[in-house]
Amino acid sequence: MELLRVNNLTKIIKKKKILDKISLHVNSGEIVGFLGPNGAGKTTTIKLIMGLFRITEGEISICGHDVASDFENAMKHVGGIVENPDLYKRMTGRENLEYFASMHEGVTKESIDGIVELVKMSDRIDDKVKTYSLGMCQRIGIAQALLHNPKLLVLDEPTNGLDPIGIKELRDMLKYLSKEVGVGVFISSHLLSEMELMCDRIYIIDNGVIIGEKSIHQEEESVDDVIYQYTFVTSNNMKTLEYFKELQANCEIANGGVNVIMKRGEIPNIIAKLVQENILIYAVNQKHRSLEQDFISMTTGSKTQIR
């Protein structure tokens, strides 16, 4: 079932085109990542989905309800965090949740308790928010997104400020929600490794345009097409580098070897060729994943931004 559909979405702020005809969708039971360097338009897209920005062109619908024309019904089915989870610091975590719950229908005290339990905040829920760490605020932020049992979750960098255990818990929770409850999750992040561990599908956005869509689990099936980074340790690194350059591959000399980025299927041929050229091969290391390289090679944004 399709929960979120974005069609040809364009947003212009102060005569500047922030988003240019982007389209995407999120299905039930799916975790969809949204990757892009700073200023690519991730938060703008999320703000448009959540109704914080007015749409310039195109349409967004959530569970079939148009966000612009049927805001209230659309919002009933979505929960989310946009940028930092800023809460009312003068109130306790519970008061914050109760306040937000008052604007939804049918949220009981018991269901709030259940969600607090789920985000593991039971111990501190009656403390003032101003005593919370960023990670705790993030947990309350996730709790408020889940208050009304939404079908779709839209999370803007939810791992910010969470410790590694917190990130793992969040990942497990989102996986549980999508696989067991059937919630659709749309999640933006800078942390590529996180995305890889969590997402079923990833959209890559740059300069307001979606420049790629990757289906992570599909790729694992046809292994030969997956791009990895390989490190060749040979008797003649210079000659090896020249050979790669002839193939017009992305390559460099590093750590006493040659790094090259290419598809897994091409490696046996290359090794055979190098052996023919009388180059001795001591080792070939395959780096586990290469989404980062995908991302870098696909985006034109500042590469230093990507960690």
Partner: protein
């Protein structure tokens, strides 16, 4: 609808969680209770701040009496002893007695002042008569507020008359000299009134003077209020006769001097006005005093009401609207009012005010239940004064209004708020209404708490008295409640303005500062422009109505502007503020609905 009410409930809870606003709310409520208690305590404190310091007296002996003065003059407790009777300086006749005693000693030592020793003796005996007269009063009347104080001045003529007729055989020049010295006697008058009348008439006049004095002493000693009033009325009637005589003289004068006709006519008019005043004002009031047993001088509300009637009637007799032609001829009127219409308007307002004051006073006396204005230390007056509380609530409302939306932006909570399944307008309106509900609850409960505390401190019985208007008497609740409720409108007005700014500027400090500056600046502007004749156009702006409570409170600055011709119209002002508030709310909704939440 049910959902909306629930939302408002939670919004109120949210606002109250702000410690700062919560503390201010509590302070505002506490003020309402503490103020009357504070007033009660400060009114009970002893009024004199001089302290218990008694210096040693200095004793001076004048021939006729002994005057004891303290070391530091002017510090009270000066006394004078005459014929063994000691009168202290708080006595209303002390200064008459001591000045006569001093002067007697002085002229005895300065004999050259008089042409003959006989004249000196005669003067001394006249002064002795005065001294005895005052001494008689001083023994009975010890308080300035006693109506009989005034009686003493009324009897002086009889004292002189009696003295002159008793000494009618003394040679004319000696008599004239001492009378001239003591009372500025005119030789013509001495001849006409005292000397050149028959001896029967002289005897009769002596009898009359003695009789009058006896009547006076009778009132003095028996505290006979009825006789006092009768005496007063009789004297007033005599004054009318005198005035009529003067008019007759002046009318003859016109025939003699036709060129002076205008001036003399003015004089006659003034005399006639005085007669009318006595006939229509002084005498009826004396009769009213007698009828209601309102003794003059006593510090009672009845006396304040009576003097209100007396003074305002007198003002009325002098404030008559002149014709347009006369208006044009008087440059100061033209300068002050510019046009005749405005002059008539201002004069009419003035006259209405006088008439209203008379009406309230008359109705109070008639019902024997005082209007609020005559009980300025009572619960009603204090409760109405407390309407100014609404000004503080307005500032508080501005504080909340400016903070409400801007703080959501500044804290970033606006993002979590705007992703709820409620339209922006619903959320905005829930916030708008919740804060105004808080302000109104604090205002109304503060005002009622104040009224109750005033009742406890200054007596609930005062609330039971009615207030008076042109259309008759109304009970205090009907008088006070509409005013109290009307003062909610400036609160809402200031609040909606700050609210609009809060949505527009998204900075709480600025959204609060602008309305506060407007409020203070508006007051200063009004004061500046209304100096010497009010700037009329201000009455069409919301400026004067922002302090609606001061329009309701007597003797406020705005009341002064109104008297200076500011055409304040309450209905207009209230409608203006309601319409502007509505515009502010609509504008803030429209702006809020359309905008991107950039934060």
């Amino acid at each position: 609808m049910k959902g909306f009410v629930k939302q408002i409930k939670y919004e109120i809870k949210n606002i109250i969680k702000s410690k700062f606003l919560f503390i201010i709310s509590i302070l505002l409520l506490v003020t309402a209770v503490v103020l009357p208690v504070f007033n009660l305590i400060s009114s009970k404190k002893a009024p004199d701040g001089i302290g218990d310091y008694y210096p040693m007296p200095i004793v001076a002996t004048a021939k006729r009496g002994i005057i004891e003065r303290p070391v530091y003059p002017g510090m009270d407790n000066e006394t004078i002893t005459i014929d063994g009777i000691t009168i202290d300086s708080s006595n209303p006749f002390f200064w008459n007695l001591s000045s006569i005693v001093n002067e007697m000693e002085y002229i005895e030592n300065d004999k050259d002042r008089f042409d003959s020793i006989e004249a000196l003796d005669l003067t001394l005996s006249l002064m002795e008569a005065e001294l005895q007269y005052y001494l008689k009063f001083a023994q009975v009347v010890t308080d300035y507020t006693d109506y009989r104080t005034e009686l003493a001045w009324r009897g002086m003529q009889s004292v002189y008359d009696k003295f002159i007729f008793e000494n009618i055989s003394v040679p004319e020049e000696i008599l004239l000299e001492s009378l001239n010295y003591r009372m500025g006697m005119d030789p013509e008058m001495l001849k006409n009134k005292y000397l050149e009348i028959s001896s029967e008439e002289q005897l009769a006049a002596l009898d009359k003077a003695e009789e009058d004095l006896a009547a006076l002493f009778n009132i003095l000693e028996n505290n006979d209020f009825t006789s006092y009033i009768e005496l007063r009325i009789e004297q007033e009637k005599k004054t009318i006769e005198d005035l009529k005589e003067q008019i007759a003289i002046q009318e003859e004068e016109i025939i003699k001097n036709p060129s002076q006709e205008d001036i003399i006519n003015d004089m006659i008019m003034e005399l006639k006005r005085q007669i009318t005043n006595i006939e229509e004002n002084t005498i009826p009031i004396l009769q009213l005093r007698l009828e209601r047993n309102i003794i003059p001088g006593e510090n009672t509300w009845q006396n304040r009401a009576i003097s209100d009637i007396e003074n305002n009637r007198q003002f009325l007799s002098y404030n008559q609207i002149v014709t347009e032609e006369e208006f044009r001829q008087q440059p100061w009127l033209v300068q002050q009012y510019k046009t005749y219409t405005r002059y008539v308007e201002a004069m009419q307002a003035q006259i209405d005010e006088y008439k209203n004051a008379i009406l309230i006073a008359e109705q109070s006396i008639e019902a024997d239940k005082p209007d609020m204005k005559y009980v300025p230390k009572g619960s009603r007056y204090r409760t109405v004064q407390f309407l100014n509380y609404s000004v503080f609530i307005t500032l508080f409302a501005v504080l909340i209004g400016g903070w409400l939306i801007a703080s959501e932006f500044q804290q970033g909570t606006i993002r979590l708020l705007m992703i709820r399944p409620k339209s922006r307008i619903k959320i905005l309106m829930a916030k708008f209404i919740s804060a105004i509900v808080i302000c109104v609850i604090i205002y109304i409960s503060g005002s009622l708490l104040n009224a109750v505390t005033n009742g406890i401190c200054f007596g609930f019985s005062d609330f039971a008295f009615p207030n008076y208007t042109i259309s008759g008497e109304i009970n205090f609740v009907s008088y006070y409640l509409p005013k109290m409720l009307a003062c909610i409108i400036p609160i809402i007005f200031g609040y909606s303005f700050a609210f609009l700014l809060s949505v527009l500027i998204k900075n709480a400090a600025v959204a609060i500062a602008i309305p506060v500056a407007g409020f203070i600046g508006g007051s200063i502007l009004m004061a500046t422009l209304s100096y010497g004749g009010a700037a009329r156009w201000i009455a069409y702006t919301p400026l004067p109505y922002m302090q609606l409570s001061s329009i309701f409170i007597q003797d406020s600055l705005i009341q002064y502007y109104i008297r200076n011709g500011m055409p304040i119209n309450l209905t207009y002002g209230i409608m203006l503020m309601i319409v502007l508030s509505a515009i502010f709310v609509i504008l803030s909704s429209v702006l809020f609905e359309k905008r991107d939440i950039l934060h």
